[in-house]
């Protein structure tokens, strides 16, 4: 065999693990050993490569060959053809969805080439289970630098100067927060990392924990040194078992090497980290609720002030930041505040990480400079809307954010522009919606979520969201009244003003933005009893086109309520009074006939 010594990176983030990547890695190890290539090939597991849509992903370096949707049966060919005979396996290359052109190297794939990966710098490039991989990429240099050369006040200045804002969603100045905590009197202080990522459709923090856990530990240690804390907690969802396992491995390794624990790097500073498993309450993403949860109580928020920076965990000054915020800190120390300040817009510095999902060709984890437009994210990085469908809206910030329409595709993505448009930056969820997404249903979906997650402490959130949800359910069921729309707006505004914590203050956002930008859809539901996107079951109907139906009887057999009748080889008919609109007939009708159709509104008995 000739050719360079190669390293194979096999993605083992949650997405790729779900599609059997560990078995692929085991098979690669077997096959290379069988062909005697073991010494020429290094086979590494990595965290998320980001391009989840194409998983399981295998990257071969140094060429940078990107293999998509690899299955176990592809492994012998990869090993023999590529690793032994230097012939990459073309059929596993990524094809540009627009041109169909095969792109062998991941650096050339638009999904990657449009990104600027700082926080995600190591994701997919190192093994998260080996501390030396992190160190080889310059890891733990920043903690060395601050312990030997910088005073806490200098670090605070540096972080302030960089313009870094909290990546959890609020967007508060990180340097200012650190300064409050640094100045807060007290001999015992705490550092907490908020990894209670609860937004449905968001997996940024999880991917980062799974892919590069040491970067978080280094960032937290620097924070501990800065504010004068010796103890840190990572509050992570129990639903993220892989992230928890990798974090614990990383903590063990860091302790062994002297990057955590007593007298770090023999510089006289001690700091250790404990993992706390969140028990599944969305409200615990709110900082005071999170603290109550670590203290063994129900996770209910309290009034602020005092802010946690002054009186937090066990009444002591406590610094709370998101995973991505801490992960940015070692880079700021290594590369300097001016480096970060040079990226992004005037008020939003650096890059933003998004979990790009929904009706978009390239689902995955991306990092882009602040100030980029939604259009660039969705149509260039994301590859546009699949199946030739029309873009309708983009949702950021999860249940706390809003839906922005096509007219907002060219606004800059930064904290202030998104807030002005009625949404929020959030922690990084970005869900794309197309013409088949009903905006009333989406508003109901998010409110249903927040309503279940409200802690019940304050009345605007507890009763207000319930009332709004009831009205939205009525509208999606065809029982809405014309005055409901204005009432929803009035209530939403009141809840925003009156709720105790961030959960309640932002819960109306999905409703308010969908009314603001898609009022016509609400009106169609209420006035015409139609769901234009064909989603809300009470406001759609199925019918069989008698000219297209060949009477194959497949639909009649699959109908769970026996609503379809008709003789063999005769056109079938749906009895509207029995139909539960499950859509099974539409699913089952052979593609060559396409006789079943879904229409907005109700049909009369004759199916018209």
């Amino acid at each position: 065999m000739t050719g360079p010594k190669r390293t194979l990176f096999i993605c083992q983030g949650t997405g790729c693990v779900s599609s059997k990547s560990p078995e692929i890695r085991a098979k690669l190890i077997d096959e290379t050993a069988r062909l005697g290539l073991g010494d020429h090939v290094d086979i590494k597991l990595t965290g998320c490569h980001g391009f989840c849509e194409q998983g399981p992903i295998v990257v071969v370096e140094p060429e940078g060959t990107f293999y998509k949707q690899v299955s176990i049966k592809d492994v012998p060919e990869i090993v023999e053809s590529h690793l032994q005979n230097n012939q990459p396996v073309e059929r596993l290359f990524y094809n540009d969805p627009q041109t169909g052109e095969a792109i062998p190297c991941y650096r050339d794939i638009p999904f990657y080439s449009r990104q600027e990966r700082n926080i995600l710098r190591n994701c997919g490039n190192i093994s998260p289970e080996e501390i030396d991989d992190y160190i080889d990429k310059g890891g733990y240099q920043a903690i060395k630098k601050v312990l030997s050369n910088m005073t806490p006040a200098q670090i605070v200045d540096e972080v302030k100067k960089s313009g870094l804002r909290g990546r959890g969603g609020g967007g508060f100045s990180t340097g200012t927060k650190w300064e409050f905590c640094f100045n807060a009197p007290g001999d015992e202080k705490y550092v907490i990392c908020n990894a209670d990522e609860g937004d449905p459709g968001a997996f940024m923090d999880r991917s980062l924990l799974e892919a590069d856990p040491h970067a978080l530990l280094e960032g937290m240690s620097i924070a501990g040194y800065t504010i004068g804390a010796n103890k840190g907690y990572i509050y992570v969802r129990a639903e993220y078992p892989l992230a928890v396992k990798r974090l614990r491995t990383a903590i063990g390794q860091a302790r062994e090497r002297g990057y955590l624990g007593e007298n770090i790097l023999e510089q006289g500073f001690s700091f250790d980290v404990e993992v706390f498993l969140g028990a599944g309450a969305f409200v615990c993403g709110e900082e005071t609720a999170l603290i109550a949860s670590i203290e063994g109580s129900r996770g209910m928020p309290r009034h602020r002030p005092p802010f946690p920076a002054i009186a937090g965990l066990r009444g002591k000054p406590t610094l709370l930041n998101n995973v991505k915020t801490y992960t940015y800190v070692p880079l700021i120390i290594n590369r300097g505040a001016d480096w970060l300040a040079g990226i992004g817009t005037d008020t939003s510095k650096g890059t933003a990480v998004f979990a790009l999902t929904g009706k978009v060709a390239n689902c995955g984890l991306i990092e882009v400079p602040m100030g980029i437009t939604p259009r660039e994210i969705i149509f260039e990085v994301g590859g546009g809307i699949p199946e030739g469908k029309e873009f309708k809206a983009v949702q950021t910030g999860g249940p706390s954010g809003g839906c922005l329409p096509a007219s907002h595709l060219d606004i800059p993505v930064d904290y202030d522009s998104l807030t002005a448009a009625g949404s929020i930056m959030g922690s990084g969820g970005m869900v794309v919606m197309d013409e088949t997404t009903c905006m009333v249903d989406i508003a109901r979906y998010f409110l249903d979520f927040t309503q279940k997650e409200t802690c019940g402490k304050c009345i605007p959130c507890r009763l207000g969201t319930k009332q709004m949800l009831d009205m939205l359910v009525d509208i999606t069921e065809g029982k809405g009244r014309p005055e409901d729309i204005d009432l929803l707006v009035e209530m939403g505004e009141a809840i925003k003003k009156g709720a105790l914590c961030g959960l309640g203050q932002t819960a109306p956002n999905p409703v308010l933005t969908t009314i603001r930008y898609f009022r016509d859809e609400y009106e169609a539901h209420i006035n015409d009893k139609r769901c234009p996107a064909l989603v809300c079951k009470a406001l759609i109907s199925y019918r069989i086109d008698k000219d297209k139906c060949k009477g194959c009887t497949i639909c009649a057999k699959s109908c769970p309520t026996d609503a379809i009748t008709g003789e063999k080889k005769q056109a079938h008919v749906i009895d509207q009074s029995k139909c539960i609109r499950c859509g099974m007939c539409l699913e089952k009708c052979p593609k060559k006939f396409r006789a079943v159709e879904c229409v907005a509104g109700e049909l009369d008995e004759g199916g018209q």
Binding site: T14, S18, P200, F203, S293, E295, T357
Partner: protein, 159 residues
């Protein structure tokens, strides 16, 4: 831990790794649930005594968090993802179909303790949406007509 141990023995093994104070309540609840699959009533009393927190408070905390359950779970834990990505790609129809196949509603367990059907906020493999997880197995890119097949296949492999 041995199956044959009494509840008292099993619990005291769990308690031995924690400081007996209020702060340990949630980790202890998590361990007890890991041990039994749910939180048995007698265990709640045991926890209350062990860390010196009133029983009412142990219940208050346990009932607040979605992770904790007070009834045994089916052998097959079916989780339908209702994350936003799954929602816009048709998760509610997947749930409808799973409810129909198992003849139970979301949150319920079949009488023979074979299946528990639940929804989760987000599994995190949004690229595979819509997805369901049954025990350790993830099924992705589903349409409603895949659901009966999945349950049939699992039944067959078991037999």
């Amino acid at each position: 831990m041995e199956e044959g141990d009494t509840m008292e023995e099993r619990l005291s093994k769990i308690f031995s790794s924690y400081e007996r104070r209020k702060d340990s309540l949630i980790p202890i609840l998590q361990d007890v649930q890991e041990e039994y699959g749910y939180l048995p009533e007698e265990a709640m009393v045991g926890i209350s005594k062990a860390i010196g927190v009133p029983e009412s408070r142990v219940y208050a905390v346990a009932s607040f968090y979605a992770q904790f359950r007070f009834t045994p779970m089916g052998r097959n834990h079916v989780m339908v993802c209702r994350g936003t990505a799954c929602h816009v790609r048709g998760a509610s129809r997947i749930l409808d179909e799973a409810e129909r196949c198992l003849d139970i509603k979301e949150g319920e367990t079949t009488e023979d303790l074979e299946y528990t059907l639940e929804t989760v906020a987000c599994i995190g493999c949004c690229g595979l949406a819509p997805t369901i997880v049954i025990n350790e197995d993830t099924y992705g890119r589903l349409t409603p007509k895949d659901i009966p097949k999945i349950f049939e296949e699992r039944k067959e492999t078991k037999e």
